[in-house]
Amino acid sequence: MTAHADLHALPGHDAHGDHEIEIPYTVHARPDTGLYNGKLGIWLFLASEVMLFGALFSTLILLRTSAPSWPHGWALLKIWWATANTFVLIASSVTVVLAWAHLRLGNLKKGKFYLLLTLLCGLIFMLIKAYEYGSKFSHGIGPHTDNFYATYFVMTGLHGLHVLGGMIVFGYLIGPGAKLWDKNRDQYTNRVEVTGLYWHFVDLVWIFLFPTLYLL
């Protein structure tokens, strides 16, 4: 038997010799964790994300409490646009759980509809954020201006990147990723659930960013 033929005989290799990775426990729970792997994975990832944003909040506290003076966010930033963005993100959190709920009912059409609404909410959020950034840049204001704007741009910028990342995943789940529904409904539904967990975290970060940067 040649080495190539041996490769075919191995689990995880198809007849063409392409390597296919079988991801275990994508639907059912592992006996030792009680969770399917994707769910435990996303929670571990979110734990690392808490540390990432925590470091930035920690830096903000250090800079703000030690500064001789610190401007009020409400005097420099557009709080009504940020309030609108808060409503948009909260609404998107609801649409993503509604998508998951309808997929559990076996309704792919409604599930994809609510995923599309979530994606649209993400787009509206980013457009408002782009408008906010644009109005600052047009006045020559940027992260270089002072520590207030440095923290504002870094924290909202990093959060915006997370929104963008979520939008890309939702786009995949609505588009090519939805083919999985025909092969394995439960696995597709679980993918929507873990993406939803990530999206709720992004919402959660904004819930704290909004008063901290804009209202105090």
């Binding site: 059912h28 925590g54 909040f57």
Partner: protein, 154 residues
């Protein structure tokens, strides 16, 4: 992401070389969601109530900010409302109200180290220049603008 290949009909969906069959997994306390139409519709109603609560609390946060309380009071009120909102999202949308023990364990560790990171600078807020080498207070910020410019950002 590479899709998992489907096992033969006699095998469970997650059964693979070296893995246990699917059936006994449920016996190990697998976390099941009730997918009956009644249960899911009840959940949907719950999600909508949480949404209304979050929207209301967002309004409260903005309303509180218009009073321009002293910083300590403003921070306290804003954080209390944000904590309530965050708890609603975590408990209901992220299902932490009925999650597995392992996830609680991960979160306890996370909250501990997060708290440590926040406690450090807060504890040394009055002597940052002595504690944090390289801290530059001269570049801290522009002077605060005069009051009465609420929402007049560029």
């Amino acid at each position: 992401m590479t899709e998992a290949t489907h096992p033969p009909a006699h095998m469970g969906p997650d059964q693979h070389a070296g893995g246990p069959p699917s059936e006994p997994l449920a016996a190990h306390g697998e976390h099941h969601h009730d997918n009956s139409p009644e249960a899911v519709k009840k959940e949907i109603r719950k999600y909508l109530y949480v949404f209304y609560s979050l929207a209301f609390l967002t309004g409260v946060t903005v309303w509180i900010s218009t009073f321009h309380f002293p910083t300590w009071l403003g921070v306290t009120l804003a954080l209390v409302v944000a904590l309530v909102k965050g708890s609603l999202v975590a408990a209901f949308f992220m299902h932490l109200i009925s999650e597995r023990r392992l996830i609680y364990a991960v979160l306890v560790l996370t909250v501990f180290f997060f708290g440590l990171m926040i406690w450090g600078p807060w504890h040394h807020r009055n002597n940052a220049r002595d504690v944090w080498p390289g801290y530059d207070a001269t570049n801290a910020s522009q002077p605060a603008p005069p009051a009465g410019q609420h929402g007049s950002g560029h």
